[in-house]
Amino acid sequence: MSPKRKIRILIAKPGLDGHDRGARVIARGFRDAGFEVIYTGLHQTPEQIVATAIQEDVDVIGLSALSGAHDYLFPRITELLREEGADDITVIGGGIIPEEDIPELNKAGVKAIFTPGTRIEEAVAWVKGHVKLRG
């Protein structure tokens, strides 16, 4: 791997949640770990998230959701990525997600779910361990 390779991650907030404080904290955490974090703000549609991930050539999409729409929105995003031939991009998620929903999300292609209380260091370590940079 070239020493100049940097991990690029899109932190996106799908759904109708009214604030993005949590997502911003996560964005800063990844920045402090040396990642380039593309941050797109609130209310992103799955289509916007996938188009952004492709244009920005990110390694990882980190989805944050509080509103409980994850069981529809997260699989929709992995589905769109497959349609675009971009399912080599790793999708992870976080937020208030009931334990029993996790297997279903994993099956849909969401590689890891971080529930509230996860330390940002854990998420950073997971990404560093699972992302293979090209080149």
Binding site: S2, F35, V37, Y39, Q44, T45, Q48, I54, Q55, D57
Partner: protein, 328 residues
């Protein structure tokens, strides 16, 4: 099929990939850039620079909206600073432009400065070339938000827009300190705020007092309220007036030559330095040399002369140089 061929066939993923390889400085990226270069030179490049938070991204969003209605395709390069402490960056310019993300006629790329000074990234010009080869009609570059030393945009764009806002107190001083010479167009954004008229007058005086520009152009001032899209149409008209003036005065060729020169010399400089440093690593290390200089056992002037002599000699012997691949 290589990335360049795929890009020329309209493959967005391939374009995004090549931009990454360029940004990460992979040797293979040069190979692809060589193939794309003949297809570049068609896009018009607009630079947007100015103080942090002055509304650059919001303006770009509104400018894109109007260009899209005219049927123009757009590339956007949005640069944000890399944290010098962690090497990471939060790239947030897209927040204001996301409604364009699913528009096939718009391609947005966020870049971090990665330690490069001048308000853009080292990779910016090459990434513009990729967008140009993709066939984008207009490419807009948003620089990092700093008040000074962003001069590099002037060597990158055809038209440079400098955005300022009223109510900071010392806006004019800030602009005098480095942005006056580079502005083809001034924008006073957030012009609904108090002090917009006064700022406009002060800017006007400053423009009049400045030594006449070689190109004979007098930078106009536009007042905008970007969140509401007010004044943006006039601003775009100003851009096309500047463009026409470049064409009519036969200055566009000169401008392109200057842009090409700056880009070319930067590439040459970077490659020469890499090549010299690469060879130095084989023998004396840089660190050892620095220690000698610190201990005054040598002097930097003589050392540079010695390195240059040896470098040129070894080049003549081997007829190929440097590390990495040499494609032709």
């Amino acid at each position: 099929m290589g990335l360049a061929e795929r890009i020329l066939k309209g493959d967005v993923r391939a374009a995004a990939r090549l931009m990454r390889d360029i940004d990460d400085d992979l040797p293979d990226a040069w190979h692809e850039l060589k193939k794309l270069y003949p297809k570049t030179g068609r896009a018009y490049i607009i630079g947007v620079t100015g103080l942090p938070g002055s509304g650059k991204s919001t303006l770009v969003d509104k400018i894109v909206e109007i260009f899209r209605k005219e049927g123009k395709t757009i590339g956007i390069v949005a640069v944000d600073p890399t944290s010098p402490f962690t090497g990471g960056a939060i790239l947030g310019d897209r927040i204001r432009m996301q409604r364009h993300s699913t528009d096939d006629g718009v391609f947005i790329r966020s870049l971090a400065t990665r330690g490069y000074l001048g308000g853009i990234s080292r990779s910016t010009h090459d990434i513009i070339n990729v967008m140009d080869a993709m066939g984008k009609d207009i490419i807009i570059v948003e620089t990092v938000g700093v008040g000074q030393d962003e001069v590099e945009i002037v060597n990158t764009a055809h038209t440079s827009i400098v955005v300022t806002v009223p109510g900071l107190g010392d806006e004019v001083q800030i602009i005098k300190a480095g942005l006056l010479e580079i502005a083809d167009i001034f924008v006073i954004n957030k012009s609904e705020r108090e002090g917009a008229e006064k700022l406009e007058q002060e800017l006007r005086v400053m423009i009049e007092m400045a030594p006449p520009r070689q190109d004979g152009w007098t930078p106009p001032i536009f007042k905008t309220e970007a969140v509401l899209g007010k004044g943006v149409f006039e601003l775009i008209y100003g851009v096309s007036r500047h463009r026409n003036s470049l064409i009519e005065s036969k200055k566009l060729d000169g401008k392109n030559k200057l842009r090409t020169k700056k880009h070319f010399l930067k590439l040459l400089q970077t490659r020469l330095l890499e090549s010299v440093l690469g060879r130095m690593e084989e023998g004396e290390t840089l660190d050892k040399m620095l220690q000698q200089l610190v201990d005054r056992k040598g002097n930097p002037y003589g050392l540079v002369e010695k390195i240059m002599r040896e470098h040129l000699k070894s080049h003549l012997r081997s007829d190929h140089g440097g590390k990495g691949k040499t494609h032709s």
